[in-house]
């Protein structure tokens, strides 16, 4: 009887524990499912806050903060009031710092966000900030690629950066083409580690490639 009670208790604990991690996975999945639609709308504040809440409650998971950082840097990109951009990018940096400290090691995915944060800071005043942030943008992308050569996201970000750089500065649509092709190839072969690991970018790659048709 005692044994049986213990067994039940164990089942109960296990099921609570399972329910806990199940709750985490399902909450993350629900949020991740919203990523694309939210980005199209151009306001990911709510989603970022939601990821942050999960991160604060879980404490040992880096992905919620990673996604909060990703959403926030996109908010910085979309912010029209240049005076507010820096503060939003700083917020994204805080999320990525938290993700990094939970991970405890360099990661290809967080480096992509770091590069995007540098871009957000630079766009506030490109003429004066290019010196400081220009090298950082490239440096983080290169680091990201070397940490995981199969990751399509650093290549996608590089492709987008090139796409939006004026032709006179070595960018433009034509210059970006080969990067999008490369990103597409990597993305087709990319297998995310878990079902909630970073896997964004498909829509963007297809959207940009469709412009070459």
């Amino acid at each position: 009887m005692k044994k049986f009670f213990l067994f039940t208790a164990m089942i109960c604990f296990a099921s609570i524990a399972f329910a806990q991690s199940d709750k985490y996975i399902s909450a993350m999945k629900a949020n991740i499912a919203q990523l694309d639609s939210v980005m199209v709308k151009g306001n990911a504040v709510e989603l970022a806050n939601s990821f942050e809440r999960i991160g604060n409650a879980e404490k040992t998971q880096w992905l919620p903060f990673y996604y909060a950082g990703y959403c926030t840097v996109m908010n910085a990109y979309n912010e029209k009031d240049v005076a507010k951009k820096d503060a939003i990018a700083d917020k994204a940096q805080q999320f990525i710092n938290k993700a990094d400290s939970i991970l405890g090691k360099e990661n290809s995915e967080t480096d992509v966000i770091k590069s995007m944060i540098a871009t957000a800071h630079m766009t506030v005043d490109p003429q004066n900030r290019y010196m400081t942030y220009g090298p950082q943008i490239t440096e983080f992308l290169e680091k990201s690629k070397s940490l995981d050569p199969s990751n399509p996201r650093p290549v996608l970000v590089q492709a987008e950066n090139t796409f939006y750089t004026p032709v006179q500065f070595g960018g433009g649509k034509d210059a970006a083409k080969s990067f999008f092709d490369q990103a597409k190839k990597l993305d087709d072969n990319f297998k995310p580690e878990t079902e909630i690991s970073p896997d964004w970018g498909k829509n963007a790659i297809n959207y940009f490639l469709s412009q070459y048709k």
């Binding site: 806050n49 939601s50 005076a83 917020k91 003429q127 070595g170």
Partner: protein, 752 residues
């Protein structure tokens, strides 16, 4: 047992189904709705984000005592204990604004800041080098800002009715002696320091902090760059100079070193551009500098910068007294400068900023009285002409040290204190026509102590209170100088500032030694400023009143030398200034306009009574325009400056009345200058470019306006000669190549 199991699952599902609604409104302390604020229950996924009218609402399945949290950048985080017992909760939240650098008012009265770090700056470092009339010289660019005068016959910044000597220049906190190349008669020499050595420039035309002293009118604060982004090698060639340098960044990016060397020879230029002066030694300069920078910790930085330069120049000019004769002026100069600075956060909110600098300056000046065929004339029978043959040797040794402690108090408020020491030892040997030497040494030790505090009451109100005290060994006197400034920010982010302060200064070396007992000259500043800065536009206006007291009067001392004799001088200056910068109205065009009105009179030096000084005019205006044309990879810059004519005087000693007397006076014609420059950057944006090239072409006084700065008079008051620039126009053409690093913006217009 299955019952138990069933029950537990039943309980779990009950828990999941009984959700409670929590809602409310989030506002700031002005009762304004706040959108996008994250609200949550601690350690739970449940929460929401406030909408555009500040409302939030969410369902939670948490039970019992919980902690409700709200947080947002720029606000103090909010926490409230709540008890969830099944009934919906309505909780309105008021967030208190945090006092942050981003939002807080900045005390700006009297100040122009050029920095790429701070958001509230009117100009950036790049602006300084892309100003067409600047020719790559820092102070020339500053002359397009309000408060400055267009003085072309001598170097330095003449600010709000002050002399050039009333403006002091600091690098990384310590005073720079001999910032400009050694003076040449009736010429404005350039600053010795390349603008690319500095990442930040603050120009204060009055009311500045207690950290700075010995300047009656103005300070120019230069902050040197930190570690370079990359290792690079740089080369430059123009038709007057060639330079090469390397900057090496260590692998761990914690330290760097660099050396550069530049050679300047104006022979080619002077063949091409006709000069008013007859050069028997065209200017030749050798200049070198070296630096190292070490990151001593995450927050600490140790920097060394050292430079040397030699100048050799000689020219003949028409003699003002004899018309057919010439004065042949020769100058050989050796200058070295060393600056070591260290800043570090030393924990518990304390910051340390300290630096030492040393400079040595050696001028060998010769003056010869020559006839039309350039032969030396001794004219021993005429003392006026005989004295035109002389040699002058100046040796100056200067040491400066400064230490500043800063302690952060509540929010942004801080207290700062420290001390400064300035040592100078200036030795001159005057050799008269008959070979007699007259050596003189003037030594000075100035000790200063200062303290100031920044108080931020809210994001909208700030005040700075400071006091400085100095002791001069030479004058054997103490002074105490209070400084106060206040700033208030309006709801539309514009701001209003006030500043008041007392400033002291010692007599200039050239009026020393004095045999009389002197004390400090004094100026009191009152400044009111209104400023509105948005991202693309800046508007700033300032009114000021400056009262001078105890200015130095000069005269013949009883031992026959011309020197400061008493502190009986006085004066005042008042005016209004406007500055408008706009990057928005015309697409891809960035322009600024500055206008200064100045009403000033003073009695000092040999002035017989209070008059409008010869270095000040009533109206000064500048327009600076910049446009980058992407298609051409070219930046076009233009600047136009206008100033009404300046007064000029012939002041001479009248031996009958034994007083100085004005023998002649007038106003010069107005000053006009239109300068253009073009920077072509062929390698702009080449991806992964290994080199970067910039071509620079600039032309000053495009319209060929006749500039007359002032007039020189002969000793007998009969002859009057206009002081004009050495050449009507100046053309500059150069090319700069940087290997290893993309310096697109950096190299633009890097003249000399």
């Amino acid at each position: 047992m299955f019952k138990w199991l069933f029950l537990s699952y039943f309980l779990i599902s009950i828990k999941a189904n009984s959700q409670v609604k929590i809602s409310g409104k989030i506002t700031d302390n002005h009762n304004k709705a706040l959108a996008g604020i994250s609200i949550s229950i601690q350690n739970s996924y449940d929460g929401a984000t406030s909408d555009s009218s500040g409302n939030y609402s969410f369902l939670t399945s948490e039970k019992g005592a919980q902690l409700l949290q709200a947080s947002a950048t720029g606000y103090k985080s909010f926490e409230q204990n709540i008890n969830i017992n099944g009934t919906p909760l309505n909780i309105n939240i008021s967030l208190r604004e945090e006092i942050t650098e981003l939002k807080a008012v900045v005390i700006t009265a009297g100040t122009f800041e050029a920095s790429d770090q701070k958001r509230a700056s009117a100009l950036s470092p790049i602006d300084i080098v892309t100003t067409a009339s600047a020719n790559g010289d820092i102070t020339n660019a500053i002359k397009t800002l309000p408060g400055t005068q267009q003085v072309g016959e001598s170097e330095g910044l003449f600010v709000r009715g002050g002399t050039a000597n009333e403006t002091k220049i600091f690098i990384d906190g310590t005073l720079v002696n001999k910032f400009f190349y050694s003076s040449e008669p009736d010429l404005a020499t350039r600053g010795r320091f390349n603008p690319f050595l500095f990442k930040g420039t603050i120009f204060s035309s009055g009311g500045y902090s207690a950290l700075y002293g010995q300047a009656l009118s103005s300070v120019l604060l230069l902050e040197s760059i930190d570690l370079p982004e990359k290792t690079s090698a740089d080369f430059g060639i123009s038709y007057l100079a060639a330079n090469a340098g390397i900057q090496k960044l260590s692998k761990n990016k914690k330290s760097s070193w660099g050396v550069t060397y530049a050679y300047t020879n104006l022979a080619l230029v002077y063949n091409f551009i006709k000069q008013k002066l007859d050069y028997f030694r065209v200017p030749v300069l050798h200049e070198g500098d070296a630096n190292f920078r070490i990151k001593t910790s995450a927050t600490g930085m140790l920097k060394y910068f050292g430079s040397f330069s030699t100048t050799n120049v000689g020219f003949r000019n028409q003699d003002v007294d004899s018309l057919i004769m010439k004065d042949a002026f020769g100058l050989k100069n050796l200058y070295t400068y060393h600056n070591l600075s260290w800043k570090e956060k030393i924990g518990h909110g304390w910051k340390l900023n300290t630096g030492v600098s040393y400079s040595f300056n050696h001028d060998k000046i010769s003056d010869e009285f020559q006839n039309a065929s350039n032969q030396k004339q001794s004219m021993l029978n005429d003392s006026l002409y005989a004295y035109k043959n002389f040699n002058l040797e100046n040796r100056g040794r200067y040491a400066n040290a400064k230490i500043v402690f800063e302690k952060r108090l509540f929010n942004l408020s801080a207290v700062r204190f420290g001390s400064e020491y300035n040592y100078s030892n200036e030795e001159t040997i005057y050799t008269s026509y008959d070979g007699t030497n007259y050596p003189q040494t003037v030594k000075e030790n100035i000790f200063a102590g200062f303290a100031e505090t920044d108080i931020y009451l809210t994001n909208d109100i700030a005040a700075k209170f400071g006091v400085r005290t100095e002791h001069s060994q030479l004058l054997n006197k103490w002074n105490v100088a209070p400084r106060i400034s206040l700033a208030y920010k309006f709801q539309d982010n514009s701001q209003f500032s006030l500043a008041y302060g007392i400033f002291y200064e010692n007599p200039e070396r050239k009026y020393l030694p004095s045999i009389n007992q002197l004390h400090f000259s004094q100026a009191t500043h009152y400044i009111a400023q209104y400023q509105k800065i948005s991202n693309d536009r800046t508007f700033r206006t300032e009114i000021f009143y400056k009262k001078y007291k105890d200015l130095f009067k000069t005269g013949l001392s009883s031992n026959g030398t011309f020197a400061a004799i008493n502190n009986d001088g006085f004066g005042d200056a008042k005016g209004i200034e406007f500055f408008w910068r706009d990057k928005k109205t015309i697409k891809n065009v960035d322009y600024w306009i500055s206008y200064s009105y100045l009403d000033t009179k003073r009695d000092f030096l040999n002035y017989p009574f209070a008059i409008e000084p010869s270095f000040a005019t009533k109206h000064t205006a500048s327009l600076v325009v910049k446009k980058f044309v992407m298609k051409l990879k070219t930046q076009f810059n233009a600047s136009y400056s206008y100033a009404t004519g300046r007064p000029y005087y012939n002041i001479n000693y009248d031996y009958i009345s034994n007083k100085y007397k004005i023998y002649d006076q007038g106003h010069t014609k107005g000053y006009n200058d239109l300068s253009l420059s073009v920077n072509y950057l062929p390698s702009v944006g080449k991806l992964k470019a290994k080199s970067f090239t910039v071509f620079v072409l600039s032309l000053t006084n495009v319209l060929g306006a006749n500039k007359i700065y002032t007039y020189n008079y002969s000793a007998n008051n009969q002859n009057k000669v206009a002081v004009t620039p050495p050449s009507k126009r100046f053309l500059y053409l150069g090319c700069f190549i940087s290997l290893g690093i993309d310096r697109s913006q950096d190299e633009i217009n890097n003249h000399l």
